[in-house]
């Protein structure tokens, strides 16, 4: 089991590194879209922070794909942990970069959206599994 987990950790890092390459590109694109030369008041430190943040977001996005490959984890657990990681990294990046106002209402709305997204994913997974179970049991009775 420990050996198997090491494989997943390696996969997490590999996927993360592959996806992370997109981070600075996304960061650059966002800055390009939101800033025009007339209002270019952003400081170098802010640009650096934005690039690092998008790098980390992309890394975690890529890495957490592995959660769905861990066989002994239920789909519920895999989806919950992935969403929790994404929530933490997005919320952290949004607040640190001031992409979102440091206001409890904004935090609450984002949190509710994450929970709703998770609820939808869970309902879809559960419905599909129930359907498959019903089909298999029907075959078993034949």
């Amino acid at each position: 089991m420990k050996q198997q987990m090491n494989v997943y950790v390696k996969q997490f890092l590999t996927f993360g590194a592959c996806f992370a390459g997109l981070g600075p590109i996304i960061g650059g694109y966002l800055l390009w879209m939101t800033l025009s030369p007339a209002n270019l008041t952003i400081r170098g430190g802010q640009v650096f922070l934005a690039i690092v943040s998008t790098y980390i977001i992309a890394f975690v996005h890529g890495g957490t794909i592995v959660f769905h490959r861990i066989e002994h984890w239920s789909p519920f657990k895999a989806a919950a942990l992935q969403l929790l990681c994404l929530y933490a990294v997005y919320m952290g990046a949004y607040l640190v970069n001031r992409w979102m106002p440091l206001d409890w209402k904004a935090v609450l709305i984002t949190t509710v959206l994450f929970v709703l997204a998770y609820a939808v994913i869970w309902i879809v997974i559960y419905t599909i599994t129930k359907h498959v179970t019903k089909k298999l049991n029907k075959k078993l009775d034949e």
Binding site: P75, F76, K135, L136, N137
Partner: protein, 144 residues
């Protein structure tokens, strides 16, 4: 039912049954052949027990060792899971990367709140069907 026996040293041994329907006799012959066909040794402490294919409920890997669960208990096997998968043939389903279950001993399928697909055996054992194996299990159960 007619019985025809052919003795030929040059031919691979095989049995074919031609029947109008699956009945008690067919099932008894099937059981006899299956029990005869595969003989495995199960190890438990200092004991070596011959196991029959039909008597095995589940084959699983735990701590890099392969075990077979039977009505009389769990025995260690000295073969790898992929070798057993080949040996045991169509009667067994690979439900995840570390377990095979005997189709004849499946009691029911169920789903957990976590969205996992589970298989319950007639001896009360439960194991999960991995997402990767779900399609294969469905196909093997005759669902397309």
């Amino acid at each position: 039912m007619k019985l025809r026996l052919f003795i030929n040293k040059d031919e691979d041994e095989h049995i074919e049954i031609h029947a109008r329907e699956r009945n008690e006799l067919v099932e008894q012959i099937e059981t006899l052949v299956n029990n005869y066909a595969v003989n495995l040794n199960g190890y438990k402490e200092n004991e070596i027990v011959p196991l029959t294919k039909n008597g095995i409920y589940r084959v699983f890997v735990e701590d890099n060792k392969v075990y077979a669960s039977t009505a009389d208990g769990t025995y260690q096997l000295k073969l790898r899971l992929y070798q057993l998968e080949e040996m045991l043939g169509d009667t067994f389903l690979k439900i995840n990367q570390s377990a095979l279950v005997n189709k004849r001993h499946i009691k029911k399928f169920s789903s957990s709140w976590g969205g996992s697909l589970l298989v319950e055996l007639t001896n009360g054992e439960t194991d999960y069907i991995s997402r990767r194996q779900t399609k294969y299990v469905m196909e093997r159960m005759g669902i397309k």
